[in-house]
């Protein structure tokens, strides 16, 4: 297949970004037209990615090693497009966030897709920036004090972390003389101090994006202040993008020298799982709680990378999907409950079980998936990670995972119990929206489906992580 064909999902999406912008300019009912255009763009890119994926292809190295299209990158495409579709549907018809909302979401999703197929540090850097720049604007698009604060914090820490990342990349280039991941592999056995410093700084830059403790400070504030649909995109899409590039960077470029990064990642994973879930415990703002939960889940993802094994890579890739479905579902409910408000606290959830039983039931399923209770996808994902940790002979990671899960339990059960409290009659009854209902339905089907019969997805993920040389 030609390079044009292989990168069709990205080209399509880029084209639709332009179309959406033009649509914004020329048509009367701007937000609605832009939403439709954006949705069609994301869906068509999704379909094309899926169809290329199904022709099980050999990894294609394009653009002088800068881009690697393989089953892995295509699977990442599918995940981030799902997050993008979720963001568009959750923000459907919303005029508060400006008419560029859809175009910005599309650009950000494009950045995440670029991260999935990056093969050298130039594309890595471009992907991170294409992802981040629109998100800075989106984070600030809520016209409240919290919105401005979220945007500003995200911008400053984003620029800071990108600076660290860039300097790390520069040092790596200085130590190894190449920008391409594939060339790294043969050069990294002899560790010079400069390479070591470069690797550390690069990882720190990526950890900022992923929200790994101790580089997580921005996450809760930004999640709380951003519009909910955007927070969903950050929680799901950004995490997929950052995790994808972390895995590709380490298991492609540094797969022969895990001694440089394996142990450090293991300790950070345990620290993140424990701290993230621990800090989630006392939260009363639902978005903030999901922010800390996102930190905890980033720790779970890191377990897969830290094992440095094929199983770990597969488990991490698999875990992204149940986590993403749970995020989609949680934010859909959050938007229903919020109505015209900016934020949702636990007391806003009171009485949902009697006022909107179905909505409450779906919310319970989503929270149980976060907590990792069987028959939901979250359990299967944690099981896969546990398997990977024990196969890699790292019981410490397994114990950290279990302790993190236990701590998280308290955080996820409090909102569930709040559902059964007597309702505050002065609050309006939450109303369904069409877009949100579609997202919630997909999220619930996905969560339960992954929990009850994960076999097809496990197969798909195992296929997609096959390119690694870790056998």
């Amino acid at each position: 297949m030609s390079s044009m064909h292989l990168m069709l999902p990205e080209y399509l999406l880029a084209g639709f970004v332009l179309l959406t912008l033009v649509g914004n300019m020329v048509v009367g009912d701007r937000v609605r037209v832009a939403s439709w255009l954006g949705l069609i763009g994301l869906l068509s890119s999704f379909v094309v990615s899926a169809s290329i994926w199904s022709v099980s292809l050999k990894p294609a190295v394009l653009l002088n090693g800068g881009v690697v299209v393989d089953n892995y990158s295509l699977l990442v495409n599918l995940f981030v497009l799902l997050a993008g579709i979720g963001a568009i549907l959750l923000g459907w018809g919303e005029t508060r966030w400006g008419q560029e909302f859809v175009a910005l979401v599309l650009v950000s999703v494009l950045g995440m897709m670029i991260l999935g197929l990056a093969g050298n540090t130039i594309v890595l850097f471009l992907g991170i920036e294409v992802l981040s720049l629109p998100l800075y604007i989106l984070a600030a698009s809520e016209h409240t004090a919290a919105g401005g604060e979220a945007g500003l914090k995200y911008l400053l820490l984003g620029a800071f972390s990108s600076g660290i990342l860039l300097f790390g990349l520069a040092l790596l280039y200085g130590a190894l003389g190449s920008l391409s991941f594939i060339n790294f592999a043969s050069l990294t056995n002899v560790g010079t101090p400069m390479m070591w410093a470069g690797l550390s700084l690069t990882l720190v830059g990526i950890f900022f994006k992923l929200g790994i403790v101790p580089f997580h400070m921005w996450v809760p504030d930004v999640y709380e202040g951003s519009p909910s649909a955007v927070t969903q995109l950050m929680a799901f899409g950004t995490k997929v993008g950052a995790a994808a590039i972390l895995l590709r960077f380490l298991d492609f470029g540094f797969y022969l020298s895990p001694q440089w990064w394996g142990p450090a990642l293991g300790y950070l994973a345990v620290l993140t799982m424990i701290v993230g879930n621990l800090l989630a415990l006392p939260q009363t703002d639902l978005k903030r709680l999901l922010g800390y939960s996102g930190i905890g889940h980033a720790g779970f993802l890191l377990v897969g990378v830290a094992t440095h094994s094929l199983d770990g890579a597969r488990a991490m890739l698999f875990y992204l999907l149940p986590y993403g479905f749970a995020v989609l579902g949680a934010f859909a409910v959050l938007i229903f409950v919020a109505g015209n408000q900016d934020s949702v606290t636990l007391s806003d959830l009171k009485g949902l079980a009697s006022r909107r039983p179905l909505m409450a039931a779906f919310f319970i399923i989503v929270m149980l998936s976060f907590a990792g209770i069987p028959l939901t996808g979250g359990f299967v994902g944690k099981f896969y990670l546990l398997q990977a940790a024990l196969f890699a002979n790292q019981p410490g990671l397994a114990i950290g995972l279990v302790v993190g899960t236990l701590l998280g339990l308290g955080a996820y059960l409090r909102p569930v119990q709040a559902l059964f409290s007597p309702a505050d009659e002065s609050r309006p009854v939450p109303q369904w929206t069409v877009g949100g209902a579609i997202v919630l339905a997909v999220a619930i089907i996905g969560t339960i489906g992954l929990g009850v019969y994960p076999t097809p997805i496990v197969h798909m993920v195992n296929q997609s992580a096959n390119f690694f040389w870790l056998h």
């Binding site: 039983p357 069987p374 279990v402 339990l409 059964f420 076999t455 496990v458």
Partner: protein, 479 residues
């Protein structure tokens, strides 16, 4: 295949109750429960082979269900007790209540019939969820804290067990074995002596918390005390058996050498629970808590039977699991009826109720006598077998067990006398009425049947029981 039908009907039935009219939920649940009893009778007549199909082939996980001598009667206990609990519940508790009860039945049936370790673990956690919601929404003010305590304490054990589950499977692959979670294949696994104690501890913790065994019973007083009576009956009657069942189904085949090595410690733990439960039962003034601690004591007795590692002791424990489930469940439901009528659970607040409610008093006495082990009733049979198993090798423990049996008579009769006998102070309550008698009589009849014809259970259980728990190297004391 009947096992699968049992599970499918329970799951489908639980969903059906969500869609019937609000007032009809109890009737619908009752019909589904009865249907499950009929299916179970079919299973008793044609035990069959169960089902074994691939589920997640990439990880060697199979959907393997079956029923043998160990689980067959526990399945029966589940369907009977659930039906009784449904009938003892109030119609106004609504659809969700009956949904959770039937979902709990689905989980319990799966738990007792799963033969794949992964599948077992799934059901092991699934049963926690209905209880959590039943405690959250249908119990007293302190119910939420009890629910939280229940779930977090149980998951604390369970999640470490999950590490154990995966570790066992991983060790099985290590040099060349396939990745599998079949319990039968994992039995007699040779493990590294450095990791075995940890894996043993992980499994033991989970089962001991669920049972509960002393000192892991922290959730028990809250949960038993706060739950509505039918739910307490299910907790004490069915759920507590899940933990003990885990010892028999999972731990004995996998860790027999470790059981032999730690036997004295385990027996000590069980006997402390036995004595502690009995003393706590004596001290309580709340009749529900007396029964709760009595149940803790009984579970200690069952655990003694298992840890005796003799055939007769384990057979006694298996028998006692079923008998105790029926008896303690019945007792909790009777206490629930009493609480409904008097509005109190305090022993000292009630006197001479048998004057106004002779039938209620009679059934109360029957179940109380059954739990304290009166000869002719099943409690006696189970305890006799357990003590016989202990006498062979661990005489000291047998003596303590016998002393506690005497205490059991004391604390049970203390409740009965306090509530039912004594001077009549004009307290008058409603006696049992026709619909309640209809389902208490069969339950009492079942208990009586087990007492006079224990061979019905033991003879059916023995052959497959020894196969199921891999008792090839027991210390003797044959049956």
């Amino acid at each position: 295949m009947l096992v699968v039908w049992l599970l499918a009907v329970a799951l489908a039935g639980s969903l059906v109750t969500l869609w019937v009219p609000r007032q009809g939920a109890k009737v619908a649940a009752g019909i589904i429960g009865a249907l499950l009893i009929i299916l179970y009778i079919g299973l008793l007549l044609h035990p069959g082979q169960g089902v074994n199909v691939p589920w997640i082939p990439a990880w060697g996980i199979r959907f393997h269900l079956g029923s043998d001598g160990l689980s067959l009667f526990l399945l029966g206990l589940t369907v009977v007790m659930t039906e009784v609990a449904i009938l003892a519940s109030k119609p106004e508790w609504g659809r969700m209540y009956y949904f959770w009860i039937l979902f709990l039945e689905f989980g319990s049936l799966g738990l007792f019939s799963a033969l794949d370790l992964f599948l077992f673990y799934i059901f092991w956690e699934i049963v926690l969820i209905p209880i959590f919601f039943l405690l959250t929404s249908w119990s007293g003010v302190k119910g939420r804290r009890a629910a939280m305590k229940w779930l977090i304490m149980n998951l604390f054990g369970s999640l470490f067990m999950l590490i154990g589950v995966v570790a066992v499977a991983v060790i099985h692959t290590q040099p060349f074995g396939p990745l599998t979670f079949e319990i039968a294949q994992l039995a007699h696994l040779h493990m590294d002596a450095r990791v075995t104690p940890w894996i043993f501890a992980a499994f033991f913790l989970a089962f001991a918390i669920k049972a509960p065994l002393w000192p892991f019973h922290g959730w028990m007083p809250d949960a038993y005390g706060e739950a509505p009576a039918p739910v307490t009956a299910l907790l004490a009657g069915v759920m507590s058996k899940a933990g003990v069942y885990g010892f028999l189904r999972i731990m004995l085949p996998l860790f027999f050498p470790e059981f032999v090595r730690y036997q004295t410690g385990l027996l000590t733990l069980a006997v402390i629970g036995l004595v502690y439960g009995a003393f706590m039962a004596l001290r309580q003034t709340d009749m529900k808590m007396v029964t709760a601690y009595a149940s803790l004591s009984h579970i200690g007795m069952i655990a003694l039977g298992i840890f005796s590692l003799t055939r007769v002791g384990i057979l006694g424990a298996t028998f006692q699991m079923v008998a105790h489930g029926l008896m303690i469940g019945g007792l909790f439901i009777i206490l629930g009826l009493l609480e409904q009528r008097t509005g109190s659970r305090d022993i000292s607040a009630m006197h001479g109720l048998n004057a106004s409610a002779p039938r209620l008093a009679a059934y109360f006495l029957f179940f109380a006598l059954a739990t304290l082990g009166l000869p002719g009733l099943p409690g006696f049979v189970g305890e006799y077998l357990i003590i016989q198993g202990l006498v062979a090798h661990e005489v000291a423990f047998a003596v303590i067990a016998i002393i506690v049996l005497v205490m059991a008579a004391w604390y049970m009769l203390r409740v009965f006398q306090g509530v039912m006998q004594g001077p009549d102070r004009g307290q008058s309550i409603l006696d049992l009425k026709a619909p309640q008698v209809w389902w208490i009589v069969p339950l009492a009849g079942l208990v009586l049947l087990l007492g006079v014809w224990p061979n019905g259970v033991t003879a059916a259980a023995v052959p497959s029981l020894y196969h199921a728990v891999h008792l090839f190297a027991v210390k003797g004391g044959g049956v």
